[in-house]
Amino acid sequence: MNQTIKREDIEIKIKRQEGPNSPARWETFSLKYRPGMNVISCLMEIRKKPQTKEGMKTTPVCWEQNCLEEVCGACTMVINGRVRQSCTALVDKLEHPLRIEPMSKFPLVRDLVVNRSSMFESLKKVKAWVPVDGTYDLGPGPRMSPKEAQYRYELSKCMTCGCCLEACPQYNPQSAFIGPAAISQAVLFNAHPTGKRNASERTRSLMVSGGAQDCGNAQNCVQVCPQNIPLTQSIAEMNRDITKELFGFLKE
């Protein structure tokens, strides 16, 4: 990794695919190095002149981006075999040649663009919200202790980027596992002073096939989470709530 010093050209291999049903192919691009480049600025460079290293004309690479400061999750892709946001993937700190692929766990749209709506579906499944209909003034909600607020703040940083699902070996087509992100969001809203009222509903939504019990504890999710959310802690927390729910029949 001592290629951090001045380099003449950067070589980037990008996995290309015209559409969901088109065959995938790899294209190699060569760019002039500029200090401070990140993967996004490389893609922008390629867009200016979409031509492979061999001089073949090609289409500009499609990708998604938004905040460019690692808080939106839109530009998540697999860089050198590891999932991360491309906006904070600095060329100086990466191994060369760069290898860029779309995430593999979501339906592909085109090139580096994937459809992450399954994550939104998962949030709906676990009811990751506080239901207040807003038809009349309920007055101020219960107060949150600073400790609670701090704990919940960490979980609230989830930007639904998909890193945890991409790195999770238990999240795959053979398995119904919902993945760490949605479980952690259920925990976030279960810990909300008002959201608590519906805690049982959220917990029960994860007592199904693909629920929290399917986690295999490879614990890659915490390793790759760009927001350092304690995802495995959330899963275990949910497991405890589920155990309590499970023994709830003893109260009857």
Binding site: A176, S209, Q213, C215, Q219, E237, N239, L246
Partner: protein
């Protein structure tokens, strides 16, 4: 994809997974510990060991006990375990973290342990009934003196003990006993020590019995 996942969703599966986790500890792990203690009577000589075997074999309701508390739980744990292997995937090359390796090893060790246990049950429980010979110190010695059987036992024991120790660690997470990083690290240390100790006991028994 989301539709097919929704179709698959049912509550039954949740119970199966939790039962799988529970069976691994109650009774399978408990039996494993009991078994290793019984084995250790090898250290006290042939008479003591044969005495323990005869005591266990003379238990009333032996067959129902064996089926209810040993055979059936291991069988159910194994069947569901194989299904878990099917629903797993590997990505060690990209994410070579220790816990990810353990995830892989838990599945591999389970499969090896299953093969080992199947052979072991045949060799020391079923074959003796079928061919009418007695299982005792001498019979165990004869088996353990065969190099390939001994090697298979060492491999089988490594797999079984890893699966046991890591399984207990997983059990504590699956049931929400250890939640945070720190408690999971501490339980990891505790179960590693227990796993190594039990492995050492088992190894000593099969080495000593060779004479």
């Amino acid at each position: 994809m989301s539709e097919s996942v929704a179709e698959k969703i049912d509550v039954k599966h949740f119970y199966l997974r939790r039962i799988h986790s529970l069976l691994g500890v109650f009774p399978v792990s408990i039996f494993l510990v009991e078994h290793m203690i019984a084995n250790a009577f090898i250290l006290k000589g042939p008479e003591a060991y044969n005495g323990v075997i005869n005591l266990l074999r003379s238990l009333p309701y032996l067959i129902p006990i064996e089926i209810t508390f040993i055979g059936l739980p291991i069988f159910l744990h194994a069947v569901y375990g194989i299904y878990i292997c099917y629903t797993s995937s590997l990505n060690l090359k990209s994410y070579g973290y220790a816990k990810n390796w353990f995830y892989f090893l838990q599945r591999v060790s389970g499969l090896i342990a299953l093969a080992f246990i199947a052979y072991h049950i045949w060799d020391f429980r079923i074959a003796s009934e079928v061919f009418h010979f007695e299982v005792n110190y001498e019979a165990v010695r004869r088996s353990m003196r065969v190099p390939w059987i001994f090697s298979f036992y060492v491999v089988g024991l490594v797999a079984t003990m890893f699966h046991f120790a890591n399984g207990l660690w997983l059990f504590c997470i699956t049931w929400g006993i250890t939640i945070g990083k720190k408690s999971q690290r501490i339980s990891g240390i505790i179960f590693s020590v227990i796993g190594f100790a039990l492995f050492a006991m088992a190894l000593q028994s099969i080495i000593v019995v060779r004479g």
